[in-house]
C-alpha cells in the first residue's frame, strides 16, 4: 500500500469530489477471474475477483514501466505484467521480478479499500484508514426480496455535480422530458419540501390526483381514465449516489403503492466526465418482461435526453460551479453543492475561507 494521506490520491489533482467517500466503480457481474480495466476517480483502475470471491482494486499501471496491468494476466490471485512479468499480489505488493532475485524497493501498486454489496462494487479513493467503520449507503430495494430490477451504465462528458444538480431539479422536466410527465408537473405543481441533514438533502412532493403519464399507465396496467395521487422523493445520499422514489397510489380500497426506485451512482472519471451506473427497482409487475423493457426506455431515455444539455453546459462552464443566478427551485441542488464544499474543506484542510474556490 502506498501512503495514502489526505493529499495522496486524485492523481489528476483537479477533481471537485471528496476522496474520503465510497464510489461505485463496477457492478458485481463485471468483476470476475479476469482483469477489468476502468477509468474512474481520476485514474485508471484494475479490478479482479480473487479465488475466495473478494474483489481487489489496484491502480492499472505497473510501477516499473507504466504498462497497464490490465494488459497482463491473472495467475491465481496475482497479476502478472504483460511487459516484463513483474508480479503483484492482490494487496499491490510486488512479489516477483523475473529478471532478478529480489524485488526492487518501492515496487508496489496502490490498492484501494473495496466493499462489495451486490450489485455494486464500492471503492474508497481517499485515506484507507478513514474508510474503516464507514459503510457504503444501504440500498434495501437492491437486497430485499420483492423487487424487480433492471439497470445499465453510461458515461457523460459532464462533471458529476452537474448530474446531481440535474437529478435534484424537477423544473426542467416540462422542457426536456415533456412526454414523460403527468399533468401534475405543469398544472399546479405542489411545493417542493426540502429536507436536509449534514451530508444529505432530499426533496419530496405529493401531487393532487391526476391521470397517469402514458408510460406509467403501460407499466402499472392502471386505466388511463382515472386520476391517481403520486408522490416523488429524490435524495442526494452522498457525493456518489442519488436515489429517486416515485409512488403511484392505486385505487381504493387496497390503495396499492406502485413504487419505482431509481438508483444512480455517479462516479467521477475526471473533472469533466462521469460514469453513471444505474439500477431501477419496482415492486409490481415482477415477471413482466415487457414492463422491464418499457421502463428501460423511460430511464435510459430520460438520461439521454439530459445528456446533450449537460455536456453542452460542461463545455460552456468547464465545471459544476459558477452559476450566475439561481432560482427558488434550485434550493436542493444548492444545498448539495454546499454539502460537497463542506466535505472538501474537511478533507483538504481549507479552514481559512468558506468561499467556493
Amino acid at each position: 500500500m502506498t501512503d495514502a494521506g489526505y493529499d495522496a490520491a486524485d492523481p489528476a489533482g483537479s477533481g471537485n469530489y471528496p476522496l474520503n467517500c465510497w464510489y461505485v466503480v463496477a457492478t458485481s457481474d463485471e468483476v470476475g477471474r479476469s482483469l477489468l480495466a476502468r477509468h474512474a476517480l481520476g485514474g485508471r483502475l484494475l479490478a479482479f475477483r480473487q479465488a475466495d470471491g473478494q474483489v481487489a482494486v489496484l491502480d492499472d499501471r505497473c510501477p516499473h514501466r507504466a504498462a497497464p496491468l490490465s494488459m497482463g494476466m491473472l495467475d491465481g490471485d496475482q497479476v502478472v505484467c504483460r511487459y516484463h512479468g513483474f508480479t503483484f499480489a492482490a494487496d499491490g505488493e510486488c512479489v516477483r521480478v523475473p529478471s532478478q532475485r529480489h524485488v526492487p524497493y518501492g515496487a508496489q501498486v496502490r490498492s484501494y479499500p473495496v466493499d462489495e454489496r451486490p450489485p455494486f462494487v464500492w471503492v474508497w479513493p481517499g485515506n484507507p484508514a478513514l474508510s474503516r467503520g464507514v459503510e457504503p449507503p444501504d440500498l434495501p430495494a437492491l437486497r430485499e426480496p420483492g423487487w424487480a430490477i433492471l439497470g445499465g451504465s453510461l458515461e457523460m462528458a459532464a462533471n458529476y455535480m452537474l448530474l446531481h444538480d440535474n437529478a435534484l431539479d424537477r423544473t426542467h422536466f416540462p422542457y426536456v422530458h415533456p412526454h414523460r410527465i403527468h399533468r401534475g408537473y405543469v398544472e399546479d405543481p405542489p411545493p417542493l419540501q426540502i429536507e436536509v441533514a449534514e451530508t444529505t438533502v432530499s426533496y419530496r412532493r405529493t401531487f393532487t390526483p391526476a391521470p397517469l403519464a402514458g408510460w406509467q399507465h403501460e407499466a402499472t396496467g392502471l386505466p388511463t381514465d382515472r386520476e391517481y395521487t403520486q408522490r416523488e422523493t429524490g435524495t442526494f445520499v452522498s457525493p456518489a449516489l442519488h436515489v429517486d422514489e416515485m409512488d403511484i397510489i392505486g385505487p381504493e380500497p387496497e390503495r396499492q403503492v406502485f413504487r419505482g426506485v431509481f438508483i444512480r451512482a455517479f462516479t467521477p472519471i475526471d473533472a469533466g466526465r462521469t460514469l453513471i451506473i444505474w439500477r431501477a427497482a419496482r415492486n409490481y409487475a415482477h415477471d413482466d418482461e415487457s414492463v422491464t423493457e418499457r421502463l428501460r426506455e423511460v430511464y435510459e431515455g430520460t438520461m439521454t435526453e439530459d445528456q446533450p444539455l449537460l455536456e453542452a453546459i460542461q463545455a460552456t462552464t468547464g465545471g459544476g460551479a459558477g452559476y450566475e443566478v439561481s432560482a427558488a427551485a434550485d434550493a436542493a441542488a444548492i444545498r448539495a453543492y454546499q454539502i460537497v464544499e463542506a466535505l472538501l474543506a474537511e478533507e483538504r484542510g481549507r479552514p481559512f475561507t468558506r468561499r467556493r474556490d
Binding site: P140, Q193, T200, E346, R354
Partner: protein, 330 residues
C-alpha cells in the same frame, strides 16, 4: 406549458431538517452527572452520514436541546450523545436524566455540523467538562488522518469527567487536567506560541471559550474553532439599531421589509420565504445564510471576528443589517 397563474416564487420550496424517530438502545452513566444515550432506528435502517463536530436536536415534549454526536465517527447505525445534568439549567437535561431510559422512543432532528474538523498537520483540542463530546470523534479521525494532535481536557474533578476510559488508549497525547488537583487549564502554556499550520478546536463552558479566544488573538486568522452550547453575551444594541431595512431574496426574486422589533427570519416567513432555523438565538447555525450584498449587523454566537468582518454569511434569526439593504442567497 400551461398558462395558468404561477404560484408565488417563494412558495415553491419549503425547508425542513431531517427528523427521525429513534429508539434509545442504551443509557449508561459516564461520570458524576453525565449519562450517554445510544440511539438507533427502530427497524435497524441506516442513518444519514455525519462527520466529527456534528450535533443533533433532541425534541423533548416542550423543549429542544442540542447534543454533539460522540460515538465512533462514521457509525451509521447508532448515534451516541452524552448529557450533563444541569440542575440550574433550562430543564432539558433534567428531563433527559430523569425520564429517558433504554427502549424509549425519541424524536431527533439533524444531524448538522457547525464545528467541522478540517485536515491539518497538527490539531490542539481543548475540552472543558461535557465539551469533550464533539472532540471524541475528532481525535479518532485526527489519529487515522495522521495529525500530530494533543488534547487538553479540563473538568471539576476526575469523577466528573466523562469518557476518561475511552481516552486512555491515546496515552500521552491526552492531558487530563482536573481543577481540584491541578487548577485551571494552563492556556498560556498550551497556546503561548502560535504553532505553524496547527488548528485549535475548543468546546466547553463560556469562561474557557472566552479565555481560549483571547489567547488565540495572536494566532493566524481562522486557526481557532469554537463550539458554544449557549448564547454568547452580546453588547447592548447601539442606538438606532432597530431601524427598518430591506432584504432582497435573490433566488426568489422577492424584496421584504424588516420592521424594527421583527427578526429577518420572521419577516421572511410572513412573505412565504422558508428558511431553516432551530435555536432562534444565534447558537446552532441552522439559519446560516450567504450574504451577497450589504453589511450585516452580526448578533450571533457562532461567527469568529474574521468571519464577521468577511460579511459572507449571517445568522438571520438574530442578526440585522447595518446597511439599508441586504441581498441574501435565498
Amino acid at each position: 406549458m400551461s398558462s395558468g397563474e404561477a404560484p408565488s416564487a417563494a412558495m415553491l420550496t419549503v425547508f425542513s431538517e431531517r427528523r427521525s424517530d429513534l429508539v434509545i438502545t442504551a443509557r449508561e452513566v459516564r461520570a458524576e452527572g453525565v449519562i450517554s444515550l445510544t440511539l438507533a432506528d427502530p427497524g435497524g435502517a441506516q442513518l444519514p452520514a455525519w462527520t466529527p463536530g456534528a450535533h443533533i436536536d433532541l425534541l423533548l415534549d416542550d423543549t429542544v436541546r442540542q447534543y454533539s454526536l460522540c460515538g465512533p465517527p462514521g457509525d451509521q447505525h447508532t448515534w451516541r450523545i452524552a448529557v450533563l445534568l444541569d440542575a440550574g439549567g433550562r430543564g432539558g437535561s433534567v428531563k433527559v436524566h430523569q425520564t429517558l431510559k433504554a427502549g424509549d422512543q425519541i424524536a431527533v432532528r439533524g444531524p448538522r455540523n457547525h464545528f467541522p474538523l478540517h485536515a491539518a498537520p497538527r490539531h490542539i483540542f481543548i475540552a472543558g467538562g461535557i465539551g469533550i463530546t464533539p472532540i471524541l470523534p475528532m481525535i479518532a479521525v485526527a489519529t487515522e488522518a495522521g495529525s500530530d494532535w494533543r488534547l487538553y481536557y479540563g473538568g471539576r474533578s476526575q469523577a466528573s469527567m466523562a469518557f476518561l476510559d475511552e481516552l486512555e488508549p491515546y496515552g500521552e497525547r491526552v492531558v487530563i487536567w482536573p481543577d481540584d488537583e491541578r487548577g485551571l487549564l494552563p492556556l498560556d502554556e498550551i497556546l503561548g506560541d502560535p504553532a505553524d499550520g496547527a488548528l485549535v478546536y475548543c468546546c466547553g463552558p463560556e469562561g474557557l471559550l472566552a479565555a481560549t479566544e483571547q489567547r488565540c488573538a495572536a494566532w493566524p486568522a481562522r486557526a481557532l474553532h469554537l463550539e458554544r452550547f449557549t448564547a454568547k453575551p452580546q453588547p447592548e444594541p447601539a442606538a438606532g439599531e432597530q431601524a427598518a431595512f430591506e432584504v432582497v431574496c435573490q433566488r426568489s426574486g422577492l424584496t421584504v421589509t424588516v420592521p424594527p422589533g421583527t427578526s429577518i427570519i420572521d419577516a421572511l416567513d410572513e412573505q412565504g420565504v422558508s428558511v431553516l432555523s432551530s435555536c432562534l438565538e444565534g447558537v446552532c447555525g441552522t439559519c446560516e445564510t450567504r450574504v451577497l450584498e450589504g453589511i450585516p449587523d452580526h448578533r450571533d454566537s457562532l461567527l469568529s471576528e474574521d468571519e464577521r468582518e468577511a460579511n459572507e454569511y449571517m445568522m438571520v434569526c438574530v442578526s440585522r443589517s447595518k446597511s439599508d439593504r441586504l441581498v441574501l442567497d435565498l
